[in-house]
Amino acid sequence: MIAILDYGSGNLRSAERAFAITGKEVVVTSDPTVALEAEGLVVPGVGAFAACMNGLNSVHGAAIVQERLAKERPTLGICVGMQIMFSHGTEHSDTAPHTGVGVWDGIVSQLGAPILPHMGWNTVEVGSDSVLFKGIEGESFYFVHSFAAKNAVGKMQAWSTHGERFLAAVEDGYMSATQFHPEKSGAAGLALIKNWVWSL
């Protein structure tokens, strides 16, 4: 069973349907036990870094993610759900950066680009031995964000560019994440979702 963590507002219906296409049972839940026990956990995220962390903490999400990692259970972060896996984020922060879940060390900061948000379809440069991108290395994916991580973390990195190079996806053992929205990336996105689900 795949659990999609519901910790605030936004469009979770598309994610629910996209993951259900794989044939797996999918539940949208804010129940910490369900999220902890699920075969795969999806952490979506829209809005600002700190607001997302507040929402995540309201359902004990950070602790769930860390405990799942310790128990070797796969988790997939999407968009801001990827960003908050880093240790720090500077969005809407005038002084010290906000604190994230901290699966990875690094700062999520604003992209240096003339037009923001980075909104639309972009290609990615995929590292070798990727599980998520198997068979779809040359495809485009749908991005909507103004902030991103720019330092390499994890075992496999995929990169994209908008004004500057940033991390489009990471695979790191039981933790994977995409800065783009696979559930909004058409056939390529559905293929990526299947790759993740079938790797569980």
Binding site: R17, L116, P117, M119, Y142, F143, H145, H181
Partner: protein, 257 residues
């Protein structure tokens, strides 16, 4: 790794059916929105936009159902506009499966609504739809309401700047002079709005020839919205993308599947 230009078909929806009028006055029924959304997805549309022009509460409920059914079948971004007056209206649409909402008149009446929506859901969900026409205002462009029939008494560039400060994530610029004419996008208007905004800009109104699409990109548009040329088969989306690709504009090839 270059961001592709986006081609966005717009479906005007009332009471669960697609319509498109020439200058919004002569409405012609053009089909079922869910089916059309699926077809446009297959054709390579990069996003979809529904504009709900229903006048009634029942019509708006029907639109929510259309959004739900579309989001269950079509996995590309969906923007919904029309009749959004509150944060609660946005919440309902996002929960039904919309990814973005566009607001127009309600933001003119109460600009604070932009900040309220952006604070709650993030700027990225919010498209400011600007119905503008040429006029003797400071910039030469003014905002209109009621489908372009009335002046809002606001300069278009001043409004765009104000709305960006309030936190819109994107601008949908509709030329009310060009809308439905198929005589080309209003290039001067796109250039002027591009110069005062740093968020993505969607050009709308007037698409006719293939050259019209590239001209709008040259003027600074990030995305191109069109309705009737797609609905009535003047151009297919893949023909527009093929034309743009041949002329070295970055376009996304539609994935097979």
């Amino acid at each position: 790794m270059t961001l592709s230009v986006r081609i966005i078909p717009c479906l005007d929806v009332t009471d669960g059916r697609v319509v498109k009028g020439v200058n919004f006055t002569d409405l012609v029924d053009a089909g079922d929105p869910v089916e059309m959304a699926a077809v446009y997805n297959t054709e390579g549309a990069d996003e979809l936009t529904f504009l709900d022009i229903s006048a009634s509460v029942a019509g708006r409920e029907t639109t929510l159902d259309v959004v739900r059914r579309t989001a269950e079948q079509v996995f590309i971004p969906l923007t919904v506009g029309g009749g959004i007056r509150s944060v609660e209206d946005v919440d309902r649409l996002l929960r039904a499966g919309a990814d973005k909402v566009s607001i127009n008149t309600s933001a003119l009446e109460r600009p604070q609504l932009i900040a309220e929506i952006a604070d709650r859901f993030g700027s990225q969900v919010l498209v400011l739809s600007v119905d503008a026409r040429r006029a003797r205002t400071e910039s030469g462009f003014e905002v209109t309401t009621h489908g372009g029939r009335r002046s809002a008494g606001v300069d278009a560039l001043a409004w765009v700047e104000q709305a960006c400060a309030f936190g819109v994530g994107e601008i949908l610029l509709n030329s009310m002079d060009a809308d439905g004419t198929r005589a080309g996008y209003d290039i001067g208007m796109i250039t002027a709005v591009r110069a005062v905004s740093k968020v993505p800009l969607i050009a709308s109104g007037g698409a006719g020839s293939l050259e019209d699409f590239s001209a709008a990109l040259d003027a600074g548009a990030d995305a191109l919205l069109a309705a009737s040329v797609f609905h009535f088969g003047v151009h297919r989306i893949r023909d527009v993308k093929s034309y743009l690709g041949k002329h070295n504009y970055p376009v996304r090839a539609a994935a097979v599947g």
